[in-house]
């Protein structure tokens, strides 16, 4: 019973956050609404007893991605937009159709009363198990990802450093 109430509360928060994030023209408001959506999502993970994922959701999405978005917004010129203006574009109809289609596809298993996939039950949600999984079967993937991220990091640093360099003379081609 409690879980159901919690689920509904969290879902409403998440959907509300997502809607506001799309509708608001004020970018900062939009970002914070997006973060509300992430928080709701994290709560839903918690309900599924996936506490590690929930924590990582907060840590990565709210903590890191949110701040990143805020920094990006700081570099834009017009932060606060006009909230009264309509946000919808002319293609809103097709957008609606696609959304509905995706929604139906997601609901299909429930509609067809199929049994839920078995894999979901076999996953042990403990952090230790997750760690072992990452370090044993998926270690190569992990390392490759780490390498990629490091490369991206170094690239970003180099890109940021390049700005400080003295401007070179435009050489005639």
């Amino acid at each position: 019973m409690n879980e159901v109430v919690a689920f509904w509360i969290l879902s409403v928060i998440a959907v509300f956050g997502a809607l506001v994030a799309v509708r608001k023209r004020n970018l900062i408001h939009g970002v914070f609404a997006l973060l509300v959506f992430f928080a709701g999502l994290s709560g839903l993970f918690l309900l599924l007893l996936a506490e590690f994922i929930a924590a990582v959701q907060v840590l990565v999405y709210i903590g890191a991605v949110g701040i990143l978005l805020l920094f990006a917004i700081m570099l834009t010129e017009r932060v606060t937009g006009d909230d009264d203006r309509r946000v919808t574009s002319r293609g809103w109809f097709w957008g609606l159709v696609v959304t509905a289609a995706v929604f139906v596809v997601l609901l299909l298993p429930a509609i067809q009363q199929l049994p839920p996939p078995k894999a979901a039950q076999t996953i042990d949600p403990s952090v230790k198990e997750l760690g072992h999984k990452l370090m044993n079967p998926y270690v190569v993937t992990l390392e490759v990802l780490a390498l990629l991220l490091t490369a991206a990091l170094i690239g970003a640093v180099t890109a940021a450093q390049g700005v400080r360099m003295p401007k070179e003379e435009d050489s005639p081609e």
């Binding site: 570099l75 010129e77 700005v163 400080r164």
Partner: protein, 385 residues
């Protein structure tokens, strides 16, 4: 000597490709915790870096000079207290010196000694409080400042016993002092002076080796020797820029030639906030030396020379200057034969030391601008007059 630039160099904004950034204009002051009074800095920031800085002042302007030109010579004396309200004694002295130059009054021996004692006590008061404020600007929570005020309190008690007031002493008169010090005052002063070095040791232990203070002050707000001379910087700030120039030694006004003391200065051409801070710390030790000698040698006798009942100098001009704690404090008087000065001019060290504020602050961080202002040591009563 190379000719120094007339205006400060301009900071070149690094224009980034693609990203348009704009400058942030911040008006620091007149109500800002660390502008040392009603002082304003119009700062343009590129991120946290100061790109442009314009000092704005005059909020405390009361036209002290005009006031003094409309009243008798003596009546201006209490107003000089209010110039640099930390150092009323040295302000009094500078004014008395200028007036004494106009009429040539002999100052009695005892009065000369007491003048030196008062001036050096004032220097101690000013330097400890300034160092306290300076560390406060660095972000300490007032601890050094309150230690400084604890010691200042003792010296203020001495001032109060001698003159009746703690800050606005109004103690000097043309030809001497207003009254003699009360009985036992010299002993109490000796006690305070003897114990002052203990406090300085403690203070130095607290501040002078602190890594944060070192890294915050060294290389910040550098002032070259040539610019310092050209910009008329005086006092500890000038000596921190590597010029050995102390008016106590150069002019030897009063009886400073009788005392053995040294003038600390740097040899290198850095002149950053750390140098200014350290020079003041070292100067206090020398002031204590002077005080010890003066308290040892002080004779008895009269306290005021034969001054005319009505102070009415013949037409003449006089410029007298003293080594105030903040720098050269000068008084320029033009007498026209009436009991009022025809022209009365104060050469305020704080104001002239501000000339280079912009030069020192450019391309520093905003936090440094505050520190640099603190290291200049201004008092708005004197800047604005």
């Amino acid at each position: 000597m190379s000719s120094p630039t007339a205006t400060a160099p301009n900071y070149e904004l690094i224009q980034q490709d693609g990203l348009e950034t704009s400058l942030l204009e911040v008006s620091m002051g007149p109500h800002h915790p660390s502008t040392h009074g009603v002082f304003r800095m119009d700062v343009k920031l590129d991120g946290e870096t100061v790109v442009d800085l314009q000092p704005v002042f005059g909020y405390l302007h009361r036209n002290h000079e005009k006031l003094a030109e409309n009243m008798s010579y003596l009546a201006s004396m209490p107003f000089t207290d209010r110039l640099d309200y930390f150092n009323s004694m040295t302000n009094n002295w500078a004014y008395a010196l200028a007036a004494e130059k106009l009429v040539e009054i002999e100052v009695p021996e005892r009065a000369e000694y007491l003048r030196v004692i008062m001036a050096e006590l004032t220097r101690l008061v000013n330097h400890i409080s300034l160092v306290g404020f300076f560390i406060n600007d660095l972000g300490a929570l007032g601890t050094p400042l309150l230690y400084a005020f604890r010691e200042r309190e003792k010296i203020m008690d001495l001032f109060e016993q001698a003159s009746g007031a703690r800050m606005m002493c109004n103690y000097f008169r043309f030809g001497g002092l207003r009254n003699d010090v009360p009985e036992g005052w010299l002993d109490r002063t000796r006690e305070v002076v003897d114990r002052f070095p203990d406090f300085l040791d403690e203070y130095e232990k607290l501040l002078c080796e602190n890594e944060i203070i070192l890294s915050r002050t060294q290389g910040v707000g550098c002032l070259s020797r040539d610019l310092a001379i050209s910009a008329g910087i005086t006092g500890p700030m000038l000596r921190a820029s590597g010029v050995n120039y102390d008016i106590r030694k150069v002019d030897q006004y009063g009886i400073y030639n009788r005392f053995k003391f040294r003038v600390p200065y740097t040899d290198d051409d850095v002149g950053d906030c750390y140098d200014r801070f350290m020079i003041r710390m070292l100067e206090m030790r020398e002031s204590i030396e002077i005080l010890k000698q003066a308290l040892r040698d002080i004779p008895g006798g009269d306290i005021i020379g034969k001054a005319p009942k009505i102070f009415k100098p013949k037409p003449a001009e006089a410029y007298a200057r003293v080594e105030g704690p903040k720098g050269e404090l000068g008084f320029y008087l033009i007498a026209d034969g009436t009991p009022k000065p025809y022209r009365y001019r104060v050469r305020p060290p704080s104001l002239i030391n501000l000339t280079v504020l912009r030069d020192m602050c450019l391309s520093q961080k905003i936090a440094d601008a505050v520190v640099i202002l603190g290291s200049i040591d201004i008092v708005l009563g004197e800047v604005d007059r």
